[in-house]
Structures are given as structure tokens and as C-alpha cells.
Assembly symmetry: C2
Homo-oligomer: 151 residues x 2
DNA sequence: ATCCTTATTGCGACTAGTTGCAACAACAGA
DNA sequence: TCTGTTGTTGCAACTAGTCGCAATAAGGAT
């Protein structure tokens, strides 16, 4: 079953309506292989359905997030980026200095997840983390003199 | 040494100028015991220095963050909240359903930090995390029927 | 095929935060 | 104390995202 079809079904099954706007949005998210910003989605939907409003995009994205169908991630680019939620989950290491983004596997968070459940009874949503820090290269470069501004 | 003084010194030592605007902002952050939003800081500075502009607030907050003096955290309230960076660090568990926020100790992240260093050479900035999920109470309440909207 | 309920839309106004630029003012050096 | 450099400010315009509301239209029921 295609992503698109799966998204449509989940939406209907959860009792939500299937509007043409939502179908377009789902189609675009479903066929995308990468992260998409709300703006990118808006532009692509507009290409085929010029009248759509940005509110519909944001509201649909919000709905899909609440249903656990997409993951919003703040990669530090000033906009939130969305992608289909799919196992295995992955997270992102983002270098403050050079901006390099490294994908890491969800397994990294297994022990944290266990601790949160055991000690706090908290069911964490550990499926779309952005972890900021310094990559190996930038540590070497910036450690000696880290006083001056980075940006 | 007071927080205020320590912040002033760090700023000067890093080669930045000490403007009246910055002094006010630092004083307010230094004497606050809780998270502060940019808006709250702006209002409090305005009380004594009416002419200050929001850009100065945001730019100073940004600078302090880059210098590692304050931590910005998105607690899901629609604004970023800032607080003095102080050991021991703490993180926040935020319940998607009821909004309850639980403080947890930084020790929770020790093994993750180690793994990131060992496996990726990545020096993560694990000092101000917001982890979303479901608290124990809300898990019990929402697990049986989790189809309908939460918001 | 039609009707009814109510979820969803477009719209416009709003909030949070960012940015480029000209004017200003710290502060190092003389 | 004065001066010059350049970091910092206020401003205004901008971007991302949210919200209330009236109009619209999905989709279940008849």
C-alpha cells in the first residue's frame, strides 16, 4: 500500500473528513523522500490547486502530527520540517558551528526511553529528536578559542 | 558573586560591549528564579528603560545563548523560554495531553551523551531538553481510545 | 437524490521572532 | 580627555505560524 493511501485511510479511520486540500497535501507528503517545510508543501499544492490557503496546510500538518503520521522537526533552519513517520525512527545531530546534520538510529534512545518509563512513568515520544552540539571536526577547530561569536 | 555580575564579566571577557540595554537585560535574567519569555523580559526592561526595542532583547538573548550563559527552551507554550544556565542541568518532560511539566535531572542523559561521543565524536549540548510524551495519568486515560483529537 | 450536522476552509488580523540598514555609542588607544 | 573603529541599537519591513469567524462542503442518514 502506498504512503498516500495509508495516510488517507488513517485519516478517515480516525473520523476526519477527506477534503481535496487534504488529499493534495497527503499526496505531496507521501511521495516526498525528504523533509518538507510548510512553505514547500504550500507551493507544491498551489501548482495544482492555486486557491489553497496556508492555514489549511498548517492545520493539516498539525492534525497529521497529532495522529502520529508525520514528524515535525526543528533542524535549526528557521522553519519546521515535516516527514512521514516511519520505522525505524531516526534522529538528527546538528552541528552548531558548521550546520552539518547526521542521522542517527532510534536505538540510541532505547535506554533513555526505558529510564523515563521506569522512573517517571512517562511515555516519551522519542521519534523525532534534533540534538544540537559540535561535530568532531568543529570541536577540534573551535576548542582552543571559543570566546568569539560563532554565527 | 551574583549572577548579574558573573554575566556581565563573561560578556566583557568574550569581547562584547556593555550597553545599558544589555545591563538591564542581564539584571532581569540574573534576578529571576524561573524561565522568562522574551516578551516578559521586554516588559520588565521597559519599566525602567522605556525606549528599548525588541530586537535588542532577541539579539542579547541570542548572544547569551551562544556564550552558553542562558538556555532557551521550547516548552510548547508558543514562545521560547530562557533561564540562566546552571549546573546541575535539568530537562523537562512535557505531557502532550495535559501539559504537565516535570523536571528531570541531567544524569538521565549521561549514557546518551557518552554514546554520542564514542560512536559519532559528537559533543552534544544536552543541557536544555524538552521531551514531549504522555505522563502516567494521561496514558491511563487516553490509551483505550486515542483516535480523536486531543487539542 | 436531498438534507442536516458539524468539521473544515479561506480570510484577515494577529503574535513571535529575524534581518538589513543607517545612526549611535562603547571603549581602546593616543 | 578626545578620537576612531566597529560593535550595537532602533526601526521598519519581513517570515513563520496561529486564531476567530463566517461561509462552505463532507459524508451519514433518509
Amino acid at each position: 500500500m502506498s504512503h498516500h493511501q495509508r495516510l488517507l485511510d488513517s485519516l478517515r479511520q480516525a473520523g476526519h473528513r477527506l477534503t481535496p486540500q487534504r488529499e493534495m497535501i497527503l499526496a505531496i507528503i507521501g511521495e516526498s523522500q525528504t523533509h518538507l517545510t510548510a512553505k514547500a508543501i504550500l507551493q507544491r499544492v498551489r501548482a495544482r490547486y492555486p486557491h489553497i490557503n496556508k492555514s489549511a496546510i498548517y492545520r493539516t500538518l498539525d492534525l497529521l502530527t497529532r495522529l502520529g503520521l508525520v514528524n515535525p522537526t526543528d533542524l535549526g533552519h528557521g522553519q519546521i520540517e515535516y516527514e512521514i513517520r516511519q520505522r525505524p525512527f531516526h534522529h538528527h545531530l546538528i552541528c552548531h558551528n558548521c550546520g552539518k546534520i547526521t542521522r542517527v538510529d532510534e536505538s540510541l534512545f532505547a535506554s533513555l526511553d526505558r529510564k523515563l518509563r521506569d522512573e517517571y512513568g512517562f511515555a516519551a515520544d522519542l521519534c523525532h529528536f534534533a540534538i544540537f552540539g559540535l561535530c568532531a571536526k568543529c570541536q577540534a577547530r573551535t576548542t582552543p578559542t571559543r570566546t568569539r561569536r560563532t554565527k
